[in-house]
Amino acid sequence: MAEGFGQGMECEDQERNSKMSAVVIVHGGAWAIPSKLAKDCIDGVKAAACAGLSVLKRGGSALDAVETAVRTMEDNTVFNAGHGATLNADGEVELDAIIMDGRMLDSGAVSCVKNIANPVSLARAVMEKTAHTMLTGRGATLFADSIGMCTVPTDILVTEYERKEWEKHKKCITGVMEDFNSQCANDSVGAVALDYAGNVACATSTGGIRNKMAGRVGDSSIVGCGGYADNLSGAVSCTGHGESILKVTLARLILSHMERGKSVADASQLSLQYMRDQVRGTGGAIVVAPSGQWAATFTTERMAWAAVENNVLWYGLEPNEKLKEQLPQ
C-alpha cells in the first residue's frame, strides 16, 4: 500500500487556520501502468494539477479547479477519459463523469455519453442547468445539444493505440475482472481540490473498462462511489475496479472514516484494504480534508498522481514514491 502524505500533515493546525492554503490533487488512474506510458502519465498528472492550481490562484473555486484539471486529462490521449478513452465490446466510446460541489452537496453526472470531448463539463452543466443530478445515454447528448455544447465525431476521441489494443483484446475471451487485473486495462482520471475560501470539490471522468458491454455504467458517475465532496468532511475521487468500488461505495466510505476522526491517509488505507479483503478489488483514491490534509493512496501496482500546494508540486507512480518539485513563484 502506498501513500502520499501532504505537507500539511506536519503543519500545526493553528498555522493552518491563520493562513488558509489551497491544494489540488489529481490522479490519472490506478492500474498496472506499463513503463512505456509512465513518463507521459506523470507529465499529464503534473500538468493537470498545475492547471487546477492556477485556476485557484486566479480566484477560481475548488469546483472550477477540479473541472479544469479533469478537462486537461480528458484532452490528453494518454489517459482513459475523453480523448484516449477505451472502446466497449462494440468498438464504441461510452463515457461517464461526475462533479460534486462540497458547499451544498450539489452534484452532476453523465453516463454512457458518446460524442462529448469533455464529459466533466457536461456533468457540471447537468448540475447547474437542470433540476436533475444525472443524465444518461441519448438524453445526455440531447441535453448537450440543447445548451450548445459541441459534439464531436467518435473517431476523434479514439486513438490509434486504443484501436490496436482493442483489436488485440477482442480476440482473447477474458472476463472483465481478469482483464482488469492484467496489463490490459486503462482507468479513470480525477481531481479533488480545496480553495482559499475553504470549499472542497471533486470530479472524476472515464472511458470505463475496455470491452465492457454496451451501456455499462461503472463507479465514476455514481455519487458516493466515483467521488463525493462535502465541505464538512472532505472530498474524494476514486479509481480502480469499478464494480468493486460500487460494492463498497468507496468515496463515501473513506469520508465516513474521516468523520469518525481518522486522518486522510488512515481513512484511505482502511477503506482500500476493506475493498481488497471484502470484495477482492484493487484501486486508488485521492482525498483532501477541509484542513488541507491530503493523501494519494492505492492498492494497484501503480497510480499516477500529483498534488500542488504552496508552490510545491508532489507526484508519484510507484508505491511509497513521493517526489517533490519547487514551482516558480
Binding site: 451501456g215 458516493g224 462511489c225 460494492k247
Partner: protein
C-alpha cells in the same frame, strides 16, 4: 425475529382516492415475499418478488403505472443488492420491459458489471430473452393525465411530484441471515429524457450488507443522492444506532442539510425493522412472526394476522 420483509410503495402525498389501493398493494406484496421466506426462499427472491408485484400493480410508479418523462415516454430505473457478497445489479433509463427489477437481478447474476443503462440495458434484456413489451402497456390513464397536466405553461412538475412519488422497494432478512434490498421506479414526473435518479444508484436508492442491514429509499431523488441516504443510515447503524434511530437521523439530516423529504424501510441482521419517513405519508407494510404490519400516515401502525386477507 427472522425471517422478515418490509416493503414501501413510495413517500409523498397519496391522494385519498388512491390510498386504499396503495395500502392493499403493499400488504399483498409483503405477504407474497413473506411466503417465499417461510418456504425457505432467500431474501433476494423475497425482495424481488415483492417489487415485481408492485411493478405489476398500476397504482405504483414503477413498471406498469410509471410516470412519463417530458416526451411522454416511460424510462425506468431499478436496483438490487445482495448483502452476502455486496454484489449489486442495476438498470437505468430502461424502456419496454415489464419488470426492471428482474433485469437488474440479471445484470448482477449474468454479467461482470453492476449497472447497464438505456439502449445497452435493452440490448441485454433481448440477449437474456426478456420479452419486449409495447410502451402502451406500461402507461395508465392516470399517468398520462398527470403528464398532460404538467405540460401546461406554469405547471410545476417538481411541486406536483410530491403528489405521488410511488417508487417501490423492499428489504428482507431470510432465515439464514442473508439480507437483500430492491428498489424500482418510473422516476420523476415530466423528467428530462435520460434522467437517472437515486433509485438505481447504489448507496442512494438502496444498500444491503449482511453485517449491517439493508435500506431501500424513496422520496426526492436528487436530495437522496446528495446525502447517499441508504449508506448514510447504515453508517449510523454501524455506530450502534437502532434501525429506527438511524433511519430518523438520516432523514433528518437530509431535511436540514439539503431540504429534501423522503422515506425508508430498514432492517438489521437481527430482524429489527423500521419504516420511517419525513414526507407527509409513506405507504408501507412489513411481515414478521406471522403478523402483517402496515401504515400510511406518520405514527400509523396497524397489525393483523398474516393469513387474514382483509
Amino acid at each position: 425475529m427472522l425471517p422478515v420483509v418490509v416493503v414501501h410503495g413510495g413517500a409523498g402525498i397519496v391522494p385519498r382516492e388512491r390510498s386504499e389501493k396503495s395500502t392493499s398493494g403493499v400488504c399483498s406484496a409483503a405477504r407474497a415475499a413473506y411466503a417465499i421466506l417461510q418456504g425457505g426462499g432467500s431474501s433476494m427472491d423475497a425482495v424481488v418478488e415483492a417489487v415485481i408485484q408492485l411493478e405489476k400493480n398500476p397504482t405504483f410508479n414503477a413498471g406498469c403505472g410509471s410516470v412519463l418523462n417530458a416526451k411522454g415516454d416511460v424510462e425506468m430505473d431499478a436496483l438490487v443488492m445482495d448483502g452476502k457478497t455486496l454484489s449489486s445489479g442495476a438498470v437505468s433509463a430502461v424502456r419496454y420491459i415489464a419488470n426492471p427489477i428482474q433485469l437488474a437481478r440479471l445484470v448482477m447474476e449474468e454479467t461482470s458489471h453492476a449497472c447497464l443503462t438505456a439502449e445497452g440495458a435493452n440490448q441485454f434484456a433481448q440477449a437474456m430473452g426478456v420479452p419486449e413489451i409495447p410502451q402502451e402497456s406500461l402507461i395508465t390513464e392516470y399517468s398520462r393525465m398527470r403528464w398532460i397536466k404538467n405540460l401546461a405553461p406554469g405547471a410545476n412538475p417538481v411541486e406536483s411530484q410530491m403528489g405521488k412519488m410511488g417508487t417501490v422497494g423492499a428489504v428482507a432478512v431470510d432465515s439464514e441471515g442473508n439480507i437483500s434490498c430492491a428498489t424500482s421506479t418510473g422516476g420523476m414526473l415530466n423528467k428530462m429524457e435520460g434522467r437517472v435518479g437515486d433509485t438505481s444508484c447504489i448507496g442512494s436508492g438502496g444498500y444491503a450488507d449482511n453485517n449491517l442491514g439493508a435500506v431501500s429509499t424513496t422520496g426526492a431523488g436528487e436530495a437522496i443522492m446528495k446525502v447517499t441516504l441508504a449508506r448514510l443510515i447504515l453508517f449510523h447503524m454501524e455506530r450502534g444506532q437502532s434501525v429506527e434511530a438511524a433511519s430518523d437521523l438520516g432523514l433528518a439530516y437530509m431535511k436540514s442539510r439539503v431540504g429534501g423529504l423522503g422515506g425508508v424501510v430498514t432492517v438489521d441482521p437481527q430482524g429489527h425493522w423500521a419504516a420511517r419517513f419525513s414526507s407527509l405519508q409513506m405507504v408501507w407494510a412489513a411481515a414478521q412472526k406471522d403478523t402483517l404490519h402496515y401504515g400510511l400516515y406518520t405514527g400509523e401502525h396497524f397489525t393483523q394476522s398474516i393469513d387474514d386477507q382483509h
